[in-house]
Amino acid sequence: KTLRHFYYQMMLQMQDPSTGVKGTDQKLNITIIPHVITGQDIVAWITKNMNIDNDEAQAFGTMLVAFGYIYPLQDHKKLVLRPDGSLNRFQTPYFWPVQKWKAEDTDYGIYLAKRNIRKKGVLDAYEQEEYNKLHKWMNHKWDFIVMQAKEQYHAGKARQKADRVVFDCQERAYWIVHRPPPQTHSAMDYGLDRHIDPNVEEIIYTQQAVMRSRVKSSVSLGALAKYITTFKNHDPFLIPCLPSNPWHTDDDSYWELNAPDVEIPTKMRVERWSFSFYELLNDPRGRADFKIFLKKEFSGENLAFWEAAEELKWGTAASMSEKAEQIFKTFLAPGAPRWINIDGRTMGLTVKGLEHPHRYVLDGAQTHIFMLMKKDTFYRYLKSPVYKEIQKKAISPAQLQQNMRNRRPSIDPIITWQKEQEEKAKAAAAAGPVDIKKLMASKLDRK
């Protein structure tokens, strides 16, 4: 912001009628352009008023051109300031680089279309290429773009010739800065096709690649090999699953025994929960067992918060603010019924972010809580009596050898989902703060 303010002040001073750079009327083709300044005058002014030497002034002048505050009239595709009699003009503030208004592809499309309408074949090769690309990307908008281009073209025709020529120069300069031709450097390089010199681009790529943190191959490959070994016995393609693979024996007991809400899980399933916190959470039965442990430790709010944050992240856009408010009231507000214990900085940032909630607003807090559970609570769970008990209770079904020929249908997933939602609602109601009035009313009823 301060940099832009500095440039703004600079431009004002440079265009001051008495102390600024002297401008003259110049003839360009057959039109007379007002307020034309020469390169050497610009450099001289900068040298004098900024108290720097000639070379620095030239570099600074080139930067002004690269940003689009000054534009050359001749050789307009090269965004450099030549310290000679070359002709330049100050760009109109309308076309100054402003952070809030990025040069949109739509506007560029309109500009190119407009020039095409004015005179066919006037676009340079790179512009024609851009035009074709935009025509392809924005096909659905193309009618709008052509319409806008025609409007602007007609509006332009209504202007006086001199004004039109000046405006055309300004607009052309603006687009040279924001969509530089090949081999031209502007300070505003951005967009889908960054026109950086390919050699520079390769250097940037390689630089970043060198700096990127990486691990030794023994570590990364070792991790991969370890992961494979861990799951070796749990891969139904390699080791037969018990009692049998439903697809082999036409018997779906394997699925029945491993249903999400089954009361007694299998031994293999319980073992899998110990592989990683992710495996435990991902399995609904595992998560349920973990919740039992948390209840005994009176630290259920951490998982509840994590689940609520997940619902916010993956929920509908319309439910965002309501969910965020609910989460704040339940977990983050001072004195909240299920207040989570996170460090002051994360809490501060999260609460501030909740003033303008978006789906990722709880990321910081969620990660913190997740890591806490992963690094501490999870390992205590694995050593806990709760886990040991479920390990004991878990069953190991006998292997089924023959084909049962029992391809029976299963419950429709829609019904399963509806049941799950009902269970969730019941659990939420049970865990929520008690409504004293309702409680009293029901007591009176019973009396």
């Binding site: 520079v200 060198v210 990486r214 891969d235 399963t416």
Partner: protein, 387 residues
């Protein structure tokens, strides 16, 4: 309109005619590129060490120096990179895998053949219940099957042909599909078998070219799509609003896969520009980019640990190429244009099995959520369940 559809068809055919047989497994944050090629001898392949990463940082542009200085700077950096790589490359995969036993005899058969589509099957997805699947075909039909009983449970006729993408919602209550209509639509499924599903259809995604892949995120409320218009996008299902768009591919994006990580914030996409990109869903930025293939990337799949992904492409001159792949722990499955399915041992880099059965090109392949079977869809109009 007819002209447009024809040129799109040509594009699709071109994209499906691949001639490479390399699978590359990119291990994120490391250098490894494991090339698996189905040579007759199936010896352990060379592990090549390449640079695979590029951080997506904005770098202020500087006035260009002379060409000569740039070239020397580039060369010095590249040498430095090679040195760094060499330092970290302390083992080969086969060394790490030496102690692991080789896989025994591997027998897999077709257990179910699902017949019902009137034309090429283009895509399929499993339901979380491990037995239902949704499949889409060139004839415009999308069918939901209980693959265990082989019953057709739902059928939808799309208003367009070439339904190239379909996905089952995590809840099991809806399916999403799209293709040449440039849209991704969500159809809530109903318990009433007679209900016309098309009546409740919701148009969610709108692209400017064909839809190549779609995938639900962790909930029914959001869909990730990739399109022939070179972009991927994340959509809110209820409102149809675009939540995030991902620009960076220079050509059609053919495939995508969500990372199975606990944070679930990234996905990988592969395109006709030979690039595979890993994206951050929150910011829309490309976190890593891999340009190791020499041709279109047809299929990308994350490894269950979330640390690596595999990409299948049509790189070379051998007339055997994978058009679809799937990873599950030790095995990698690839469907090929020679009508077979090859099964690879990821650790040893060897081929474990070739499965015959389809009578035309295999176009889509996925392992069931619990790993008990995998399903393949083919241009022979059928789907097969293998176990």
């Amino acid at each position: 309109m007819i002209f447009r559809e024809t040129s799109q068809n040509i594009n699709i055919y071109k994209n499906m005619c691949y001639f490479i047989c390399y699978y590359s497994i990119h291990i994120l944050n490391s250098f490894f590129l494991l090339r698996l090629s189905p040579s007759k001898h199936s010896s352990p392949p060379r592990i090549s060490c390449f640079l695979l990463e590029m951080a997506a940082q904005e770098v202020a542009s500087q006035p260009s120096d002379t060409l000569a200085t740039l070239k020397t700077e580039s060369e010095t950096l590249k040498t430095k990179l090679e040195e760094e790589r060499a330092k970290l490359h302390d083992v080969e995969l086969h060394q790490v895998a030496e102690k692991t036993e080789a896989l025994g005899q591997f027998v897999m058969k077709t257990r179910r053949t699902l017949k019902g589509h009137g034309n090429k099957v283009l895509c399929m997805d499993w339901c979380k219940d491990k037995r239902r699947i949704v499949s889409s075909s060139q004839d415009g039909k999308v069918i939901v099957w209980d693959a265990f009983t082989t019953n057709k449970e739902h059928a939808v006729t799309m208003p367009c042909t070439w339904v190239m993408a379909c996905a089952y919602a995590p809840s099991g209550c809806a399916v999403a599909c799209g293709g040449l209509d440039n849209k991704c639509s969500v159809y809530p499924l109903s318990l009433d078998k007679n209900e016309n599903l098309a009546a409740k259809k919701k148009s969610v995604a709108m692209h400017t070219n064909y839809l190549s892949a779609c995938c639900f995120t962790n909930s029914d409320m959001q869909i990730l799509t990739s399109s022939g218009d070179g972009t991927c996008a994340l959509w809110d299902v209820e409102s149809g609003q675009m939540l995030q768009s991902f620009h960076g591919h220079a050509a059609d994006v053919l495939c995508l896969d969500l990372a199975p990580s606990e944070t679930g914030n990234t996905f990988v996409s592969g395109g006709c520009d030979k690039k595979a990109c890993v994206w951050d869903m929150r910011t829309g930025q490309c976190a890593q980019s891999f340009e190791t293939h020499e041709s279109d990337i047809n299929s990308v799949r994350y490894y269950p640990s979330g640390d690596a992904f595999a990409s299948g492409s049509d790189d070379a001159t051998v007339s055997l190429f994978p058009s679809c792949i799937f990873f599950k722990w030790r095995l990698l499955f690839g469907g090929y244009n020679d009508y077979t399915i090859n099964v690879w041992d990821v650790l040893k880099g060897t081929r474990v099995s070739i499965l015959f059965g389809h009578e035309n090109r295999v176009s889509t392949l996925r392992v069931s959520p619990d790993g008990t079977a995998f399903c393949s869809g083919s241009w022979d109009h059928t789907l097969r369940i293998w176990a």
